[in-house]
């Protein structure tokens, strides 16, 4: 198992480099001139040309890519914003915790509320509890994030005055953002948990367990649940991706100065170093968290553990990822 973890950790390095190359290439093709934003509209062409030269924007692709990779991976220097000259690493240190906090809480809510909800729905199949929770879940996954976020603000800030509508500060500022981000996740997780639980309940070994005369509780907890959790890990991955991506919208609505906000503003300003750094950071964190999730589920279910240690790569799990 340790070998597996080490291998996965080492694997993070080339993946991060790959992500860096991919995002650099994408940003290379974004039209628009960052120099114009920096200097404003009345700068003379000479000044513009000079700054382009200074920033190295006129060098060919390969040279710029090489420079970027060297800076990031050898010197851990993510550079400065083109516009503010503030060190990006410094900004990240203050912004990442906020995004991660919201992401973490949303993910926890998704797992802690979503999975039990789905499982109970499955156990009460076709009874009223099941129907209602599935209907609610359906609506949860169907609503666009910003719509839900604004609805929450209107209800809880304007009408009830229970929570502040935007900003950062104490816990009360993070409640609505986490709720908004988590709802779709809870709904999705509940549906997935329910369907995989149903699948498991109908399977041979559960039937066998029941036939053996084991108590219902024991059947569910010891036999059904661990098996049901396997496909859920796949969904957990896509939910996490959704949560990180959703931070862009959530941070905008709630004026939270996190990484998502940083990235979108930077895209509008053509502040390439920021965009690239944001994507690289988030990709690394995402991969790392996925690793943790995989490890956690491996401990829950020895079959998964065996699978990790056996297979060269984790395709079967990944294959179900975007379902």
């Amino acid at each position: 198992m340790v070998k597996f973890i080490m291998r996965r950790l080492l694997w993070l390095i080339p993946v991060s480099m790959g992500v860096a190359v991919v995002i650099f290439s994408i940003m290379y093709f974004v039209p628009g001139d960052p120099v114009q934003i920096i200097l404003g509209n009345d700068a003379t062409p000479e000044v513009i040309a000079q700054l382009r030269n200074d920033l190295g924007l006129d060098d060919p692709y390969i040279i710029r890519l090489g420079r970027f990779l060297k800076d990031v991976f050898l010197r851990f220097n993510f550079g400065e914003s083109y516009i503010t000259h503030v060190s990006i690493t410094k900004e990240m240190i203050s912004r990442l915790p906020r995004t991660i906090l919201i992401g973490f809480v949303s993910m926890m809510l998704t797992l802690v509320i979503g999975i039990p909800l789905g499982i109970t729905a499955a156990l009460q199949r076709n009874r009223i509890g099941d129907r209602i929770s599935m209907i609610i879940a359906m609506f949860g996954v169907s609503m666009p994030g910003f719509w839900l976020a604004l609805m929450l603000v209107v209800v809880f800030s304007v009408n009830l005055s229970w929570l502040p509508p935007y900003g950062i500060g104490g816990i009360e500022y993070y409640i609505m953002p986490c709720m908004a981000n988590a709802v779709a996740g809870i709904a999705g997780m509940a549906r997935q948990a329910r369907s995989s639980m149903l699948e498991v309940i109908r399977s041979d070994y559960v039937v066998t367990a029941r036939a053996k005369g084991l108590s219902n509780r024991s059947v569910i907890l010891k036999h059904a649940l661990p098996n049901a959790l396997i496909p859920i890990t796949a969904v957990a991955g896509s939910q996490l991706a959704r949560i990180f991506g959703g931070s862009v919208v959530i941070e905008n609505v709630f004026s939270i100065p996190g990484v998502g906000n940083y990235m979108v503003t930077a895209i509008n300003n053509r502040d390439y170093p920021i965009v690239m750094s944001c994507v690289i950071f988030l990709a690394i964190i995402f991969s790392f968290v996925m690793l943790l999730v995989d490890i956690a589920f491996a401990y829950i279910d020895p079959r998964i553990k065996a699978q990790y240690m056996g297979e060269k790569n984790t395709n079967r799990r990944r294959r179900k990822q975007n379902v």
């Binding site: 920096i38 404003g40 503010t84 000259h85 503030v86 800030s157 935007y166 900003g167 950062i168």
Partner: protein, 561 residues
């Protein structure tokens, strides 16, 4: 021109020509003048005036007795670096309380000295500025003319504003600076004097990141807290150098001890923030949200509302470059301009927060001619039949699709869509391309990217200077000529004449505007009327020349006037 405007105009010439010491504290709340154009902001008197009640402002006082005001803004300043060219609204909000210039103007275009004690025009191109001798920044550094020269040199290198028109700048002694410009226009002096932020060279060089997050400046406030994309807090300085309060001009009133700027990017949240008591002031709130705070004609309990007609206008440019469909096709250009109803655009896109334009700029500008306001003045008044006639004349075949370019502002996008509809009615096919601000600015210079451009503009001074900025070929790269890419020597002549102080008068301005209209290169669509909604602690608002609001100088219930 109205008498008052002529008076204001000659007064400013007089002020420049002679040496007037210090500032005057004029130009505020002239509520005896009923016309909305010549005041710095307020039309609606505050509730406290009406009902003579004392407003309870305890929730705007900190535990140690300091008054504070919270302003909602929609963009982060990005950087506090004073020597960077960007002049976005976020930066204006953040820098106005802290950064100072040699001179500044107010909303009525009167000139005041901030760092400058006096200013003289020696000849057409030469000016001598004397700065105060006791200027210190928040770190205690003493500011001298060497710092002024240094800042201007940096600005000139970066090409900020009109600094490229400075041919030389020299410190005559510790407090006197000589500027020699290379042109003489009606606004060049003000533009150069008020655009460049002045800081001490020492503070700038000592700063670890060019003052991006740690500004050290000479203004009455100092930065207390900055969370990028979230909050900017500035606090009044006890050691502000202009100790004689009578000498201070309007930008130096520090009427609130602490100002907090909350960055709120989601437009719906701005009104929500005001409603739920998170902020005290929003400038430029759209009409629909602003009406939320009104109870019929007067503001709701606990709020005030101020309406300002500004010089902000929405403009339409027609691409007249060599390859374009509009080149040498006056009939088609005029057809476009006759095809739409500006009133409908004002109502449709701005819901009453705008009035139709009758010239390229706003009617509050001093050189705006009265005759343009008269009912029988035809500024391409809505005339579908005439438009259709002209289209037929022009030889336009409706298989050619005309591109309308607009930025990402939601109201301007609505303007583009309304325009598209009107053009469809005269059988002109269009498609809309909307880009974010950066791309829009880049493509505005590219004649291949658009045929019709919806843009915004404003003027801090005159209509003539606004036209100078947009149509003076000397300001554009070789081959571009102006923002409509129209090569027109007569236009160039008229622009220069209208902006030369020796020939600047109602005739030259009138001639320039008439010619521009005749050639149909560009028009003003609507003139924006901005609403500022505040809680009742704000008695009156003060606007800068940009225009933008200056929270530090607004009048609050705790100020004794």
């Amino acid at each position: 021109m109205k008498r008052r405007r002529l008076l204001a105009f000659s007064l400013s010439i007089f002020m420049v020509a002679s040496a007037i010491a210090g500032c005057s504290s004029s130009g505020l709340a002239g509520s005896d003048d009923p016309s909305p154009s010549n005041q710095s902001g307020s039309v609606t008197p505050s509730i406290s005036e009406l009902s003579n009640e004392v407003v309870d402002y305890s929730k705007n006082v900190t535990s140690d007795g300091k008054t504070f005001i919270r302003v909602g803004i929609s963009a982060d300043p990005g950087t506090f670096d004073p020597l960077v060219g960007s002049n976005s609204t976020g930066r204006q909000y953040a820098l106005n309380p802290m950064a100072q210039h040699l001179l500044t103007s107010n909303f009525d275009m009167e000139l005041f000295g901030e760092l400058a004690k006096s200013w003289d025009k020696i000849d057409d191109f030469t000016y001598i500025i004397q700065i105060h001798d006791n200027i210190t920044d928040s770190d205690g550094n003493h500011l001298t003319s060497a710092d002024v020269v240094w800042c201007y040199e940096q600005a000139k290198e970066s090409g900020i504003g009109q600094s490229k028109n400075i041919s030389s700048i020299k410190a005559l002694d510790d407090y006197n600076i000589e500027f020699i410009l290379d042109v003489d226009t009606i606004t060049i002096f003000q533009s150069v004097m008020r655009r460049i932020n002045i800081v001490t060279k020492k503070a700038y060089e000592d700063s670890p990141n060019k003052m991006a997050t740690t500004p050290v400046m000479t203004g009455p406030y100092v930065l207390k807290e900055y969370i990028p994309d979230s909050k900017i807090v500035v606090e009044k300085r006890d050691d502000y150098w202009k100790t004689n309060e009578a000498e201070r001009c309007f930008t130096e009133y520090a009427n609130a001890d602490i100002i907090e700027f909350h960055v709120i990017k989601e437009p719906a949240q701005l009104a929500i923030a005001l409603e739920s008591g998170q902020i005290d002031m929003v400038y430029g709130l759209d009409t629909m949200n602003a009406s939320r705070f009104m109870d019929g004609e007067s503001p709701k309990e606990g709020f005030n509302r101020f309406i300002s007609k500004t010089s902000s206008v929405i403009l339409l440019f027609l691409n007249c470059s060599a390859q374009s469909v509009f080149k040498d096709n006056l009939a088609l250009r005029q057809a476009i301009l006759y095809s739409f109803d500006s009133q409908a655009i004002a109502d449709g896109a701005y819901s009453g927060g705008a009035v139709p334009c009758k010239a390229f700029g706003s009617s509050i500008l001093p050189d705006y001619l009265d005759e343009w306001e008269s009912d029988d003045y035809d500024y391409y008044n809505y005339n579908v039949d005439k438009a259709k006639e002209l289209v037929a004349q022009s030889g336009y075949k409706n298989d050619e699709v005309i591109n309308i370019m607009v930025d990402s502002d939601s109201q301007r996008k609505m303007v583009a869509q309304i325009l598209q509809n009107y053009l469809l009615a005269i059988d002109v096919k269009t498609e809309i391309s909307s880009y974010d601000q950066t791309l829009f600015d880049t493509y505005a210079d590219d004649p291949a990217k658009w045929d019709i451009r919806v843009d915004s503009g404003s003027s801090s001074d005159y209509l003539a200077s606004m036209l100078d900025g947009r149509f003076n070929a000397n300001k554009f790269t070789e081959g571009m000529y102006n923002e409509s890419f129209a090569q027109d020597d007569k236009l160039q002549e008229l622009v220069i004449a209208a902006n030369d102080p020796k020939s600047f008068n109602s005739e030259t301005v009138g001639a320039l505007v008439s010619y521009l209209n005749e050639q149909a290169y560009a028009v003003g669509l609507v003139n924006l009327v901005l609403e500022t909604v505040t809680t009742d602690v704000v008695e009156d608002i003060v606007l800068t020349f940009m225009p933008n609001i200056l929270p530090s100088s607004c009048w609050f219930v705790w100020n004794k006037r």
